[in-house]
Point group: C2
Chain length 402, copies 2
DNA sequence: TTAATAGTTGGTTGCTTTAACCAACTTATT
DNA sequence: AATAAGTTGGTTAAAGCAACCAACTATTAA
């Protein structure tokens, strides 16, 4: 155990209560509907303890009771469920082109979202404007109080101080986004800022189908670049400078294509959407002007329409993805790899080649079976992740670790 | 928080006591000498609570009181210190050529060690023999009771079931080492088995100078191959199949040298001791028979004696190390990289080139300053790590995580 | 067919236990 | 006298425990 650097958490009755409250709340979230007795069995807590904590959760309107019948002998259990429609959070995802804002319930479902153009050149004013849009949106939805605002940014973020360390695609560096937000929302407003890929991983963990099955996975976000969120034992791996999971800049080919990071042969240069588009443009013999007009969705659409060249291009993307994923597996040894991005629409095309390469490049028996699949999230994971940043805190997931 | 998969730890008075006991014990370990009041201030616990727990620790003979004077006004504090010479653990490090055994105190210092040849072809008998040697050693040292036995193995290990999944260099696969150990030591004997690089990381964390400073680091073990132990927030990152940190097999050069793992261009093939020896043999125009006789220590000695070729060879190793370390940094974003192995003897030769490459290949400002240094452990980290596996448990490092 | 009753599961109540907290106290020192 | 270190004895929060009530099904006897 390391000391000194951070806070030392010692135990007392209140901490115990918080831990147990958190454990119970998360069980309800994870397995609803569930009865008190079931919870007692799962946690090892006494029935009476569970009852007492459940009563508090009902009073806080985080859960509610529901009649139920099981048909077996004995009294029917009272089902406990998450209460929706009571607590809301604001979520903002800032990407280079567009920024999406929304109001989400505590199950990660969105009441509504809007999309605005990102104004990178005036960060303070732009972020202030985001707050205005959010409050307008919540007014429209008759949500009079937000538990907090979560922001995911396409760049490296220091969540503690709520500063954007560096966001090359936005042109931001050392931008104190937390300060602007607090100025607009009041200093007591709960604000959480983090990197978009990390937020996506969190979204998968909290709201995804897979996050409930796996607690050790890597979320790969394929877009302009390649970002990753690493989840280990249900916790996000932040990295000491909040820059873990920069797999996009791991070298695949020494001396290969020049990357924006200054090095050559980075994974991004071969498997990102930009790389896919470039290969497509090249094979289609498009001139530079024309190729700049192409979006990844165009290539996807073309592939889905049956165009051989596009399919070829995506198969190649699959191969490159596989090369990088093999490295991820060797480094982290996750239980699963979850992929997000537009290219998941052509999963059936990239999948085969990707698996093949991963299988060939990984080491041992079990590890070769690492499951790789597209995200199950219906919405932009980056936005849901922004919501998760705050909701996670509402559920205050305390843990006791052995 | 993820559920279902493992045990759900709920809180109660006993858990709180254990947490606080662990916190206090670790503070004493980390900062001795230290007084009760100091501990109370650090933890936020009440003085009386600290006193009560300290009394229990004294009764368990894990710590002792020592008179001290601070010269200031007021009563002098009573210094608390770890008590040595009372609790011992057995440690075994099994490597392809030789196996080292030792008896260690709870501060990780060894009473004595012995070295025997590893007999890979008869694993059961060999491990049984290790136990005999250990008990002979503890008899000689008049240690009548061992708190447990820790074993570090050059291969992938499943610590839960104490099985060696696969150890290519030993030729072991699916070997139930725990069973053999329990047969020889009794089923109630505490046994911990883990991978050698992971154990080394643990040794650095628990006994190294650096482990007290850093709680986010990667320990790179350079030997026949390259292994890694990843420490995140003071905890070892195991990986889902207990195979995290296989950076040695990350591809540096696509289509490069053939590696024993079946792939090409693995980091190991360029930066491991084997690779260094091969380059040395090549430059010295040695024939195959002669080059097989060379050990890394020979090359080290030659370099230390001022041989230009050897120095050249190590500088090149440094460059290759740098290439791989840059990848490690991008993946994990640690605060420090700690390197173990024979090559640390020529640190002054490899260091320069290594840093240069890392600096060139990593991404952003702060991250470029990741400190890289050789291990501070006086003994083989793998052996101290084996001891740490058990000692860690003695200190039962419970934590409450927010 | 009905009504009494045994058995079973879910949940609550009131008392006990544990261990942290608190405030007043003793001890030792300048 | 002032002050810091550590102890004591009582208080409090929360979990554990055991007995109980509640609600339901299955069985059986009139």
């Amino acid at each position: 155990m390391k000391l000194g650097s951070h806070k030392i958490i010692s135990g007392n009755a209140r901490v115990v209560r918080n831990v147990n409250r958190s454990v119970i709340l998360n069980i309800i979230r994870d397995m609803e509907p569930v009865s008190r007795v079931q919870i007692a069995k799962l946690t090892g807590l006494n029935k009476s303890t569970v009852s007492s904590i459940v009563a508090a959760l009902v009073a806080d309107e985080l859960i509610y009771e529901e009649e139920s019948r099981h048909g077996n002998v004995g009294r029917n259990p009272i089902s406990l469920r998450l209460k929706l429609g009571k607590h809301f959070v604001g979520a903002v995802n800032i990407d280079s082109a567009r920024t999406i804002l929304g109001i989400a319930d505590i199950d990660g479902s969105f009441r509504d979202t809007i999309s605005i153009a990102t104004k990178c050149d005036e960060p303070e004013r732009f972020v202030a404007n985001c707050v205005t849009e959010l409050s307008r949106l919540s007014d429209r939805l008759r949500v009079e109080h937000l538990e907090g605002i979560g922001v995911s940014v396409a760049g490296i973020v220091e969540p503690g101080s709520a500063k954007v360390t560096i966001a090359p695609n936005l042109g931001w560096e050392g931008f104190d986004i937390g300060k602007v937000l607090h100025e607009r929302c009041g200093s007591d407003c709960v604000i959480h800022v983090d990197n978009d890929s990390k937020a996506s991983a969190l979204a998968e963990l909290w709201f995804g189908k897979h996050g409930r099955t796996y607690s050790n996975f890597v979320f790969l976000s394929i877009g302009r670049g390649i970002g990753a969120g690493i989840v280990v034992e249900g916790k996000l791996l932040t990295g000491h400078y909040h820059a873990s999971g920069e797999f996009g800049h791991i070298t695949l080919f020494d001396g290969g294509n020049l990357c924006s990071c200054g090095n050559r042969g980075c994974w991004e240069e071969y498997a990102s959407d930009r790389a896919t588009i470039a290969r497509y443009a090249n094979l289609k013999h498009l001139n530079e002007a024309a190729s700049r007009q192409i979006s990844i969705q165009d290539v996807v659409d073309s592939a889905l329409a049956g165009d051989e060249v596009s399919r070829e291009v995506f198969a190649e993307t699959g191969r490159f993805l596989g090369l990088g994923i093999a490295n991820v597996i060797k480094a982290i040894d996750p239980e699963a790899i979850i992929i997000g991005g537009k290219i998941t629409q052509v999963w059936h095309i990239i999948h085969q080649k990707m698996i093949e390469v991963v299988h060939q490049r990984t080491l041992f028996g079990k590890q070769k079976d690492v499951t790789i699949f597209p995200t199950s999230l219906p919405l932009r994971p980056e936005l849901q992740g922004a919501a998760a940043l705050v909701i996670k805190d509402l559920f205050s997931d305390y843990k006791i670790i052995l």
